[in-house]
């Protein structure tokens, strides 16, 4: 009982709601949602989206809150202890271990993404990515160099800046965790969430008062909301909507359970869960659809929006949006607001996801909070370093796939089955309504018991089979090329429709673009290390690159020479789009020398390393709790033995 009284608690109900909403609201609300909606039927996407929300988003939210408060009653803030109380089986707490290993793995890469937002907020404030007379900033290359995704050094000499911001971000997170639930997480939510709403409002007002560029705000809204009902017959759209609901509500992390564990017995969880969903949807549907896509439509024009939407969340947030924001007055203010908005959204989520790990060390290992924070911080820093250094090999995507995608669905599936089938739906339902301020419609009993687990199983199978079909499980080399001196060009290097390459001589090189890539990748796999090549080229009058010389690793030269590289680039439509000033100049940009860098990364060893680290973390989290629980069981037996008398009564196991 004494240890139960020592557990922390929330300072206020609104603090808890804001913290839970902050946990759910993340970068995905503002970037992933509009991209998904735009690619999956526009307005019609909202039909599977709402259906998914009702069939497993909302039920999982209630399940998480209910499990959390139930476990908290017995002094457990993480799922191993909670599951152990729900299911009297030795395997229960080991299944619960997934609920602390996955959040930790998720935090390792999510904090890195979070740190990009912090870094870009600083770069916006300092005007670092504004083009000047002697330095043209191309935002795609700028991002790649910031992250160390390429070896070119036009804007960043290395990725020291990325490391600095990542370390600052991890330390900020650990500091919040160290301060505890009420003085750390709750206080952060009370500051960050209103700030997030305010920033969203400021940006929406700004976007709607920018006037017109190549397009208008309304073009973006038209693109985003025009329903394409034909898409509803595609299963992919339904899975995409279900996935969006799953990610946006942050179910399957164990964090909502942890937050709910600090509630009192009679505190409501039903209305709290519903309010968390409502606040999350407010940010996602309203602000998520009113900022990024409309802004891109205004600046780039309606015809460019589909391509931007398809380029992915990070491309929208870190490349397209800065391009829009720096093109209008006030980058230092509005750019900083945009990236602080993303940072706060991510910050409130990452502390929430990490809290179950803290709670585990505090509640199960009985460590004082400073010691728990130190251990979590150490694991966090050590785990983030490989992500930083191996980002170019796809370490982040690998973790995201296993831990942040498949792992979460598996854990949510376990949780829903445990709640509805093992703990028992009747008991679960009663637990949900203990102290509830609303009655949940009874139809959700059926949904929780049958529909939610079935849907989660379908999503898991779909994603796993899709990954196999796309050959994502076998790490292939990544082949790319970049212009080394891009900062000296005012125009853009871009890919487009294939340019007509020189016809190969009879019996000559007639490979396709894919075959060039495959050939380079095969060489990397043969020698098992990275391969590089450097080309001196010049820009032709039609924008294509004429390769003058090509030097490279001899292994690479076996499959590629200057003529082959030029042909490959033409097949991929790689060309230079001159700036307006260059178009008007008599000579334009033609005949200007260009240095091109070919990079082929040997991903396999790093991807396998990441997989081994993932298994290691899971294994460690099985071993550590096992040792803790064994010790506690031994102590309990000794206490019982001592109480039974010196004769040594039989000790129950």
């Amino acid at each position: 009982m004494a240890e139960l009284e020592q557990r922390e608690s929330w300072g206020s109900r609104w603090g808890l709601i804001l913290a839970a909403a902050g946990n759910a609201v993340g970068i995905g609300n503002l970037l992933r949602f509009p991209a998904q909606a735009a690619q999956n039927g526009g307005g019609a996407f909202m039909i599977p989206y709402v259906v998914s929300l009702l069939l497993f988003g909302l039920p999982m939210m209630w399940i998480a809150w209910t499990i959390g408060r139930f476990g908290g009653r017995f002094g457990h803030g993480s799922t191993p202890g909670m599951f152990d109380r729900m299911w009297r089986h030795p395997a229960a707490k080991y299944l619960g271990v997934i609920g602390i290993a996955l959040p930790l793995l998720f935090c390792l890469y999510y904090t890195y993404i979070e740190s990009w937002c912090l870094g870009y907020a600083w770069f916006s404030l300092s005007g670092d990515y504004l083009s000047t007379a002697g330095r043209a900033v191309h935002l795609r290359t700028y991002l790649d160099e910031f992250l160390g995704n390429t070896t070119t050094t036009s804007y960043f000499p290395g990725f020291n800046a990325a490391i600095t911001f990542a370390v600052i971000t991890v330390l900020l997170n650990v500091w919040i965790l160290y301060r505890g639930v009420a003085k750390g997480i709750e206080l952060l939510a009370k500051i960050a969430m209103p700030a997030l709403f305010l920033f969203c409002l400021v940006l929406v007002v700004r976007m709607f008062t920018l006037g017109e560029g190549r397009g208008s705000i309304w073009d973006g809204l038209q693109f985003l909301w025009t329903p394409d009902f034909g898409m509803l017959s595609t299963p992919k759209v339904w899975v995409a909507a279900a996935g969006q609901i799953f990610f946006t509500l942050s179910v399957g992390f164990g964090s909502l359970e942890c937050y709910a564990s600090y509630l009192r017995d009679n505190d409501d969880v039903a209305l709290s869960g519903l309010t968390t969903v409502a606040a999350n949807e407010f940010v996602e549907v309203i602000f998520g659809s009113l900022i990024a896509i409309p802004a891109c439509a205004l600046f780039f024009g309606a015809d460019q929006v589909p391509e931007i939407a398809a380029s992915g969340s990070f491309s929208i947030g870190m490349v397209a949006m800065p391009e829009v924001l720096r093109s209008f007055p006030g980058l230092e203010f509005f750019g900083t607001i945009w990236f602080l908005l993303l940072f706060f959204a991510a910050f409130t989520s990452s502390v929430g996801v990490a809290q179950p790990v803290m709670a585990f060390f505090e509640d199960e290992a009985k460590l004082p909070r400073p010691a728990a924070a130190m251990i979590v911080g150490l694991m966090w820093i050590l785990g983030t370093i490989p992500i930083l250094f191996f980002y170019r090999y796809g370490a982040l995507d690998e973790l995201d796939f296993w831990a942040g995608t498949l792992g979460l669905v598996v854990f949510a599936l376990i949780e829903s089955v445990l709640f509805a089938w093992i703990f028992g739906l009747r008991r679960g339902w009663d637990e949900l309504h203990l102290g509830a301020l609303i009655r949940v419609p009874r139809v959700f009993r059926l949904v929780m018991k049958y529909v939610t687990p079935a849907l989660l199983a379908v999503i898991f199978c779909w994603w796993f089979v899709d990954a196999i079909a796309q050959d994502l499980l076998v790490p292939r080399p990544r082949v790319s090329y970049a212009v080394a001196d891009v900062a000296s060009f005012r125009g853009h290097f871009a890919r487009g429709p294939a340019l007509a390459p020189a016809e190969p001589a009879p019996g000559g090189d007639a490979r396709s673009a894919d075959q060039y890539r495959t050939a380079v990748a095969a060489q990397v796999e043969a020698v098992e290390h990275d391969l590089f090549g450097w080309a001196e080229a010049e820009i032709a009058a039609d924008g294509r690159l004429r390769i003058r010389s090509f030097s490279a690793d001899p292994t690479l030269l076996q499959v590629l020479d200057a003529a082959a590289l030029e042909r490959w680039l033409a097949l991929e439509g790689f060309h230079y789009e001159p700036s307006d000033a260059e178009r008007q100049a008599p000579a334009g940009a033609a005949s200007r020398p260009v240095r091109l860098q070919l990079e082929a990364w040997n991903r396999a060893p790093y991807i396998w390393l990441v997989r081994i680290v993932m298994l290691g973390v899971i294994f460690a989290f099985l071993i550590i709790p096992h040792a803790i629980w064994k010790r506690r069981a031994r102590l309990r037996r000794e206490e019982i033995g001592a109480a039974a008398g010196p004769a040594g009564a039989e000790v129950p196991s």
């Binding site: 009297r88 038209q222 985003l224 009679n266 409501d268 309010t275 659809s289 309990r636």
Partner: protein, 53 residues
């Protein structure tokens, strides 16, 4: 913007706003009720006996 797109947008955003208004209303209405007394009773025994070790 086409009428269908506007209709879809307003319908969805209206639904989200209504859900938020409902939640706020429920909190305000329930907030007038006296708060639950602090939980001073010891936690109930784990269901069905002690946890498995």
């Amino acid at each position: 913007m086409s009428g269908v797109a506007i209709a879809f947008m307003l319908l969805t955003m209206g639904g989200v706003l209504a859900l938020n208004a409902l939640c706020i209303g429920l909190w305000l209405r329930r907030g007038k009720a006296p708060p639950a007394p602090p939980d001073s009773t010891p936690p109930a025994a784990p269901p069905g006996g002690p946890p498995a070790s």
